[in-house]
Subunit: 225 residues, 2 copies
DNA sequence: TTCGACAATAATGTCAACATTTAAACTTGT
DNA sequence: ACAAGTTTAAATGTTGACATTATTGTCGAA
């Protein structure tokens, strides 16, 4: 299961079996190895992964808290279905949270953190040239947004985005090639965001980020028709 | 434990013991019956509530997903500490989410739902007069905001607010008398919000709600110095 | 054939015992 | 008396068995 190690933005694998199972199942859900809407049978999964049902149930509860799984009492757990409506709702929530996050980041980020943002953007630029200007790799895009979110220093927003929404977005992107970020626009907008943060201009940062996410949402809405 | 039934905005008590325990512990945490920062010993709690540790652990995992509990592997679970910094962060997140929610509600709410908003405000007005104009009861305030949030028809925002943030805010208010909503301002602002929704004006609704929450946040920041 | 009731099967919910790790208590030496 | 190391106790992590509920399959009657 280490083949998906790149996916794990935040790791739970805290030496406890339940924590490892949480990461394993999360990655399997994100990649689609466990299909959307499919049932997570405790008995079958426990046998397949060679663990007892206790830690497995614990992992399922955690994934429930991340919105990756829906649980119905006495019936079991199913992987969430990423309908068009839900994806658009996720992006509306993301717009609200991440635009606020970047406004806070414009006030709270330290200089070394802003330097790191520049490094991430340079890496994106380099990767884009190598990929013949087609796409910004998803991991690179996540890294940038994650850095901005952490820069807000707001633990509540961090958790909502990094622990919950981003996993759903990763899942969507991983299972829909067309959902990848377009290269040129994305990179330009990232630069604008960093500029606003450097200027310590929360309002500019917020509107720039909001537009960036609205663009992404519009792209998705267009291509899912 | 039914004495706190009024607190349970959303109920889990789905006929399973784990679900009931989730509600019981949540209410005990909100009221402060289980103090902030105190440890939730599985063995002691299981004995006290006369249940086995299995369902209890499940409830703890769920409460972890609601941000009411912090869990450290091999060490156990502790009730979250509502520091001033955390409360302000919660209100920043709430501002972002609920201002977006009301903008969506201005587009999505049905007429019957808007009528219900009026009824809730009338009830607030009546209760305020009976209370010699001192306070709007917290339950009344929640009911109004919950109705608005549901009106957004955005399941992601609904969950983030109703399932996670509101519980933390209830906990804060319940344990800090000074954190109650001031009567006159709150009622006027609620009326403005309903007006904006009726006018189907998302921008006005958003700005009004944002100001409403910023006011509440400022009040808290002032009184916690 | 189709619908409904009943039986059989499998799944989730619950419990108590075991294993391992952490925290507390105690001893020992300076 | 204090500190360090060891020992003891208690807590969390894990497991397998049991109980209860839902689902599937079967039989029979309309």
């Amino acid at each position: 299961m280490s083949e998906f190690a790149v996916l794990s933005g935040v790791t739970h694998s805290s030496s406890t079996l339940g924590g490892e199972l949480t990461d394993t199942l999360r990655d399997a859900i994100i990649t689609g190895e466990i299909a959307q809407g499919s049932k997570l049978s405790e008995t079958k999964l426990a046998k397949k992964l060679d663990v007892s049902r206790g830690p497995l149930r614990e992992a399922i509860r955690r994934l429930e808290g991340m919105n990756l799984i829906q649980h119905v009492p006495q019936q079991g757990a199913r992987v969430v279905m990423l309908s068009k409506a839900l994806i658009l709702q996720i992006y509306d929530a993301r717009e609200a949270l991440e635009s606020k996050a970047v406004a806070l980041a414009a006030e709270q980020m330290t200089s070394p953190e802003i330097d790191e943002l520049h490094r991430l953007i340079d890496a994106q630029s380099k990767q884009m040239r190598e990929n013949s200007g087609a796409f910004v790799p998803a991991e690179s895009d996540y890294a940038f947004h994650e850095m901005v979110v952490r820069g807000s220093k707001n633990k509540v927003i961090e958790r909502a985005l990094l622990h919950e929404l981003y996993n759903l977005i990763k899942m969507f992107r991983y299972q829909n090639e067309f959902a990848n970020t377009s290269s040129t626009n994305s990179l330009v907008e990232h630069r604008q965001i960093v500029y606003a943060i450097e200027q310590r201009d929360p309002v500019l940062a917020e509107v720039t980020m909001r537009r960036h996410i609205v663009h992404a949402r519009a792209r998705i809405e267009r291509r899912m028709s």
